[in-house]
């Protein structure tokens, strides 16, 4: 086994441990818990059996397995960033709602 494989496997084990911990604390919902477990396990399979990516790449018409992994990673990261931006926007609106209600309550009957 290569050193880089060992390092990545150790990181993936840590990521699994943190994901399970956060789920137990109630900070991660079922759906996302399932997604992340699948994600870390899939990453583990790819690291331990790199030839699987070559077989998958052949299946979808990409030359090299590592290219397929990169394409997939870019798509996943872009989608996650999009979701995060949407969530931030939603939080901003909720903060404004709370601040507005407080402001209007404090100024009631003035106008």
């Amino acid at each position: 086994m290569l050193i880089i494989q060992i390092i990545i496997i150790l990181f993936l084990l840590y990521a699994l441990y943190r994901t399970i911990g956060k789920f137990r604390e109630g900070k991660v919902r079922w759906g996302w818990f399932g997604f992340w477990i699948l994600f870390w396990l899939s990453a583990g399979v790819v690291v331990l059996l790199p030839e699987t990516t070559n077989r998958l790449a052949d299946l979808v018409g990409v030359t090299r397995g590592v290219d397929l992994v990169i394409y997939f990673a870019i798509i996943v990261i872009s989608y996650l960033v999009f979701r995060i931006l949407i969530k931030i926007e939603s939080l901003e609106q909720e903060i404004t709602k709370v601040v507005r209600e407080e402001a209007l309550r404090n100024s009631k009957n003035q106008v």
């Binding site: 926007e89 209007l104 100024s107 106008v111």
Partner: protein
């Protein structure tokens, strides 16, 4: 017809008193939304005779307009005028702005600087044209000055419009809402008073780019 002016203000202690005093003769009441200012904006507005609604945190122009409109509706306004706190708008033009709302000819009246560009810096003229065309591409409605803060709404229009934007993209969102709600809109030429101070408070190119990105995100999310 009860007319209330809404003036969103953030750190405008030096200007807001004069703006409120200039506005009061033309409306029944002035509401200044103090958007979490760190200076004496609220106190200065009160001294001039405005009713002040204060945000405990700075939320942005859009949030302040939403708060001001809600306060005005709760106070029984039949017509709501919005204008800037930095002295860019000439309050004596308020009657021109609200006339068509009072006569029932329009639901929303937008003051347009681009119908009378005298005294307007060329850079601002270009940026406002870009802003208006961008708003048209995003939301399918063209007005000559989509970024103008000098507006009048009928009560029904103010109730219908749903402002979700917090920051400066609210101007384009209002145009989008006008289209979405099928409101009757009119434009009147207004004079823009440009000083070094009001120019420093307006949308710079960098802020304009950020506003455009937020609008794009909002459009994609619809």
């Amino acid at each position: 017809m009860k007319t209330i002016a809404v003036i969103p203000a953030y750190n405008e202690a030096t200007m807001v008193e004069g703006v409120v005093e200039a506005t009061l003769p033309f409306v029944d009441a002035v509401i200044v939304v103090d958007d979490g200012s760190q200076d004496e904006t609220g106190g200065a507005a009160r001294r001039a005779g405005a009713h002040v609604v204060r945000h405990s945190l700075n939320r942005g122009l859009g949030a302040s307009l939403g708060t001001g409109i809600q306060a005005s509706l709760a106070a029984g306004a039949d017509c709501i005028v919005t204008l800037d706190a930095d002295g860019q708008h000439d309050s004596s033009e308020i009657p021109k702005l609200i006339r068509q709302v009072q006569n029932g000819l329009a639901d929303v009246v937008l003051g347009s600087r681009l119908l009378n560009t005298r005294g307007m810096p060329l850079g601002r003229i270009c940026m406002n044209h870009v802003g208006s065309w961008f708003t048209f591409c995003m939301f399918g409605m063209y007005v000559t000055d989509s970024q103008s803060g000098f507006r009048a709404f009928s009560r029904a229009a103010a109730q219908a419009i749903n402002i979700r934007s917090n920051r400066m993209e609210v101007s384009s969102e209002i145009v989008a809402e006008i289209r979405r709600q099928g409101l009757r809109v009119a434009e009147v030429p207004i004079r823009a008073i440009y000083t070094d101070y009001s120019l420093s408070k307006g949308q710079s190119f960098r802020v304009g780019v950020k506003t455009a990105c937020r609008l794009l995100l909002r459009r994609l999310g619809q």
